[in-house]
Amino acid sequence: MNVTPALSALSLITCIVGCSEPVPDIEIPDTGVAIIVEASLTNGDTDASVAAAVYDSGQPAPMVGGNVLEVTSESVAAILSGIDERDNFYSGQIGIPNPDTDTIKVAIVHRPQETRQERWYPTEDILVDPGPGEFEGFEATLLLPTAIELTAPQPGLTYSSRDDIIPLEWTGSPADDFKLVTYNRCRSTTDSDDLSWVYTSQMDDDQQENIRIGDIIPATGALETSANLGGVVTGFVQFFIEATLSAVTLGLYEPAEINFGEFELDYCTIQLSLVRQRQGQIGEDFSGGSVTGSRSDNLQVEYRP
C-alpha cells in the first residue's frame, strides 16, 4: 500500500518543532476509494464542524454533478460544501443535540437540486444531471469521544520567557488519541508581516501536562511553515482547530521557511487547543482512509518577551 507524498510530509511539517512523537500519517491507498473524515465539537458549541475528502485510486476525487458528501446526525442533515483552493475537500457544520450518544454519518449521495440551490435560474426546469455516481451510498460513521474541558491555565495570561511553563489541566476520559495543537501568530518589531504556524504534539490523556513556551516558539533555528496561512486555514484554526491537520495533509498548507534567528519578535498570540480523538468506522465500500471524531477545548495566551 502506497502513501501519498503530500500526506507523508505531515509528520515532517508538524514535528520540526518539538513534537514528542510523530503524528501518524493518513494512508491513502492507491487502489479503490478512500475517505478522510474529521468531525470536531469544541467545548461550549452545539454545532460540530465536519470536513471530508474522497480519493479514487490515490487521487483526489471531486464531488461534482450533484454527487455530494452529506453529513447526518439523528434527524439533522447538511451538505458539505467545497473550499475553493482544493477540488476534493469539503466542510460544513451540523447540530449535535446529544454529543455523547449521537452517531455522525458522512455519506456520498446524489442531490442534483440541493447542490444547485444557489443558482439564479430555475434548476428544476433547466438541469444537466449526469445521475448518481459510482460512489453513491458509500458511508462512514463515527461517535465523538467524551467532552474535554481545559481547567488551567486561565485564558489571557501573558508569559515573558521561553522558559516559562504553561501548566495544562483538563477533564474527561481518554479515548484513542490526544493532542495539543497550537496556532501561533507572532508580530515582529521591524517587519509588518505576521508569522503564523501550527504546532502539534501528541500527549498522554492524563489530565495534566506542562508545556514550555520555548517548545512552541523556538528562539533560534528554522521552522518550515507558512509565512501567511491565509483566510482558509486561519478560519479553520479559529473554528475547527483539529482540522488544521487535515488542511496540512490535504495541501492547503504551503510550507515556507521562517528563520527565528533573524526574526525580531515583538509578541506572539498562542491559540492553544487540547483535542481528544476517537476513531470511527469506514464503510466496507471504501478501501481505506481515516474517520475521526474529536472534541476539544481551547484558550489563548500571549508570549511577550
Binding site: 461534482v64 447542490t115 443558482r119 430555475p122 426546469d125 433547466i126
Partner: protein
C-alpha cells in the same frame, strides 16, 4: 409554460390614443396610394445588453452577468397624424452569454436568446430642421430561451439543457429620424425592453431587461 396574455390596459390605452389622434387628424386618405404612403418599414440592427432581475426573496449567491448581444428586426409603422405613429416591431436578441461560474455541482454558464413583438406608439416631441425625435412606448410579448451548459471537471461529460418561456412586458425608448432622401430615413433608436416574470411557474422567476441601441433605415 403559460399562453400569451397581452395587457388589456395597455392595448386599450393605445387604441384610445390612436382613435383620438385620428379624430383630430387630417381627412382619412381615400386612395390606396395615399394610405400606403402612411406606412413605413424599418429594418434595424443593433447591440443590446441583457440584465437579469431576480426575486430578492430568493437567496442566490451567483448573480448572472450577460455579455452584450447583437439584435436585429423589422418595424412596421403607421403615421396616424403628423406627430403620432403606431408601430409594430419584431426584434430578435441573439445569444448573450455569462462567464463560467462555479458551485458545488460544477462549473456552468448560461446563454439567453429572445424574440420580441412590440406594439406601441411613437409621439414626436422634438424637431430640428428635418430631423425628428420621437418618444415611444407600449406593450410587448416575448418568447425567450435560457440554456445552461454544465461542466463536471472531467468526471462526467459536460452537457447542455434549455427551456423556453413566453410572456409579456413593456418597452420604452426614443427614436431619431433623419431623411436621407424623399423615400428613405435614417433611424437611431435607444430602447428599454422589460420581459416580466420569465419562468413564472417556477420558484426562481425573473425579469429580463434589454437595453438596446438600434440603427435602421425607414422606407
Amino acid at each position: 409554460m403559460k399562453p400569451f396574455s397581452v395587457s388589456t390596459k395597455l392595448i386599450s390605452l393605445a387604441a384610445l390614443l390612436l382613435i383620438c389622434s385620428l379624430a383630430n387628424s387630417e381627412p382619412y386618405p381615400t386612395t390606396q396610394s395615399s394610405l400606403l404612403s402612411r406606412f413605413s418599414v424599418t429594418p434595424h440592427i443593433g447591440i443590446s445588453q441583457a440584465d437579469i432581475e431576480t426575486d430578492s426573496a430568493i437567496s442566490t449567491s451567483n448573480q448572472p452577468e450577460f455579455d452584450s448581444n447583437l439584435n436585429y428586426g423589422l418595424a412596421l409603422e403607421y403615421s396616424a397624424i403628423s406627430w403620432l405613429k403606431l408601430e409594430v416591431d419584431y426584434t430578435r436578441h441573439r445569444e448573450s452569454e455569462t462567464s463560467k461560474q462555479r458551485d458545488i455541482a460544477g462549473e456552468y454558464k448560461n446563454s439567453l436568446t429572445s424574440d420580441i413583438v412590440a406594439l406601441g406608439l411613437q409621439v414626436e416631441t422634438f424637431q430640428y430642421s428635418k430631423t425628428r425625435l420621437y418618444v415611444k412606448g407600449g406593450t410587448l410579448i416575448y418568447h425567450t430561451q435560457l440554456t445552461v451548459k454544465e461542466y463536471f471537471d472531467g468526471v462526467y461529460p459536460s452537457g447542455e439543457a434549455s427551456e423556453s418561456d413566453r410572456g409579456q412586458g413593456y418597452y420604452a425608448g426614443v427614436s431619431l429620424y433623419h431623411p436621407l432622401d424623399d423615400d428613405i430615413m435614417f433611424m437611431l433608436s435607444i430602447n428599454h425592453q422589460r420581459l416580466n416574470d420569465v419562468f413564472s411557474d417556477t420558484r426562481r422567476a425573473f425579469d429580463i431587461r434589454y437595453n438596446s441601441l438600434m440603427l435602421g433605415l425607414a422606407f
